[in-house]
């Protein structure tokens, strides 16, 4: 193993380590987006996180929305949070959940005040949080402090042959160094789910993984729909993938060879180092948002045909081995490993180049998706609201 690069990050009150230092303005519900964006407009440098849901949800779907909003606020890439909701009760649920990490949180509800009074009140806190965050210094950190996540998108056969093998090289090295990794995309294991089950460290983890898998795929299969064009997507098919099983094998390649130490519910955070499965959709923005809530601080994103996704809180690093994509969509690609496909470089060489870019991203390098202002923040909805 090469000598390790010096890493720096922001250590939060709960001991977690972030690689960005955002002051987030987090609406609890769709009705509060306008006020959140108003605050961010008054205090440039803060980060509004508008989204489409949060009203009349109930049961497991409401729990998931709360867990996602709390997890994104608790993500170590966030220094402080302003929580805005239409009414105080659910606003308190989200604000209290984030405040349990020890980071500064201010909350305010809109009913009885109106947007303009809320904006005036919250903007003063936002200004103070921003100034305070600007004095939080980066400090030396270890790989073991860093939670990475991974997701591939607009995959084609070059992901399984190239970018996912390169990602696997990083995954194995990261886990061996004591780091934490999260993969997901539940339906996109179909045909190779037994390979994931075999790698679970014990029967408890295996049973939890299998339960997530069976429930998700049963939900899909019960519809009786023809999924060709949805999973795999039209882009996957254009790139040469013919079936869900073929797509799944590429997804599985990128998880490397480490044992799977835990199976997480959507938006659930890991509790110790190692490689984790998380139960997620394969839709890029939904999946990366759930992994952000699961405390991922950098996302590794192999792509074949050129998915352009980013996330407002978690930087997304794009890796592609498709020479047409790395040429036509070079603006979006952080790591070009098309030489692996032409066998002009090895997976190990490309893997080291990926590790270098990821570690520079940890240290502050802005990814292509960040530079291009990709801020897809998408909640996963389990069913209709009441």
């Amino acid at each position: 193993m090469a000598e390790q690069r010096r890493l720096t990050g922001y250590r939060r009150p709960d001991g977690s380590v972030g690689v960005r230092n955002h002051v987030a303005i987090l609406p609890v519900d769709d009705l509060s987006n306008a006020a959140a964006e108003g605050i961010a407009a008054l205090v440039p440098g803060t980060l509004a996180l508008p989204h489409a849901f949060g009203r009349l949800q109930f049961g497991d779907d409401l729990d998931l929305t709360f867990r996602t909003l709390i997890g994104v606020g608790a993500n170590p890439n966030v220094a402080a949070v302003i929580v805005i909701g239409i009414e105080p009760n659910w606003t308190d649920v989200v604000a209290d959940g984030i405040a349990s990490t020890g980071k500064p949180v201010e909350r305010i509800a809109i009913e009885g005040r109106g947007d303009l009074r809320v904006i005036e009140h919250a903007a003063r806190y936002a200004k103070q949080f921003l100034q305070d965050a600007s004095e939080i210094a980066r400090e030396p950190v270890e790989r073991g402090d860093i939670v990475l996540s991974m997701k591939d998108g607009e995959s084609d056969t070059t992901t399984g042959l190239g970018s996912c093998r390169v990602t696997a090289h990083l995954v194995d090295e990261w886990v061996a160094s004591g780091g934490t990794m999260i993969f997901g995309e539940t339906s996109e294991l179909t045909g190779g789910e037994h390979l994931i089950a075999e790698r679970c460290v014990d029967d408890e983890v295996r049973k939890r993984f299998q339960g997530f898998y069976d429930d998700y795929v049963e939900m899909i299969e019960q519809t009786g729909a023809n999924l060709l064009g949805s999973q795999p997507t039209q882009g996957n098919i254009a790139g040469g993938l013919s079936t869900i099983e073929e797509k799944a094998m590429g997804n599985i390649v990128k998880t490397g060879s480490a044992p799977i130490v835990g199976a997480l519910a959507p938006a659930e955070a890991p509790t110790k180092p190692g490689l984790y499965f998380m139960d997620t959709s394969s839709a890029a923005a939904e999946c990366v948002t759930l992994m952000t809530a699961g405390r991922g601080v950098v996302n590794l994103f192999p792509t074949g045909q050129g998915n352009v996704i980013g996330n407002p809180v978690q930087p997304v690093v794009k890796i592609s081995a498709n020479p047409k994509t790395t040429s036509a969509m070079a603006d979006h690609i952080d790591v070009d490993c098309s030489d692996v496909l032409s066998q002009e470089s090895t997976v190990e060489q490309a893997g080291q180049a990926l590790i270098e870019i990821v570690e520079r991203t940890i240290n502050g390098r802005i990814t292509a998706a960040e530079a291009l202002n990709h801020r897809e923040f998408t909640l996963t909805k389990l069913y209709r609201s009441a």
Binding site: D156, T157, T158, G160, L161, T190, G191, G192, L195, E221, G224, A225, N226, L227, L228, I237, G239, G240, S242, T243, I244, E245, E246, M249, V253, G304, N322, P323, K324, L341, S342, Q343, E344
Partner: protein, 100 residues
């Protein structure tokens, strides 16, 4: 060294299909396997774009299609070595309604 660059790559020895790593035209094409030094020459019958698949052996309709050493599809019609393989001649073995 341009002459050593493969036309296609297969994941594992024993796989029934390989992936074109450049746009290929009908005629003799050559490639190899990720898990060894074996090489393969195939008389390609169709255009196969980069990322799309080439049959490395004959596959009968209804037979499993092996890639990565596992079943990734079922042949929906007879396929010959050198044929272009995609949704027109293979389908998911798991999602029965997912057909072109």
């Amino acid at each position: 060294m341009a002459s050593s660059r493969p036309d296609f790559l297969a994941h594992r020895s024993g796989d029934a299909v390989a992936v074109a790593v450049r746009d290929l035209e009908p005629g003799l094409v050559r490639g190899g396997y990720l898990d060894g030094d074996a090489t393969e020459e195939v008389d390609l019958k169709n255009d196969v774009p980069l990322g799309h698949k080439v049959a490395l052996r004959d596959i009968r309709a209804g037979e499993d299609v092996i890639e990565y050493g596992v079943r990734v599809a079922i042949a929906s019609q007879d396929i010959s070595r050198g044929d272009y393989v995609h949704t027109h001649n293979v389908r998911s073995a798991r999602w029965q309604n997912s057909v072109a």
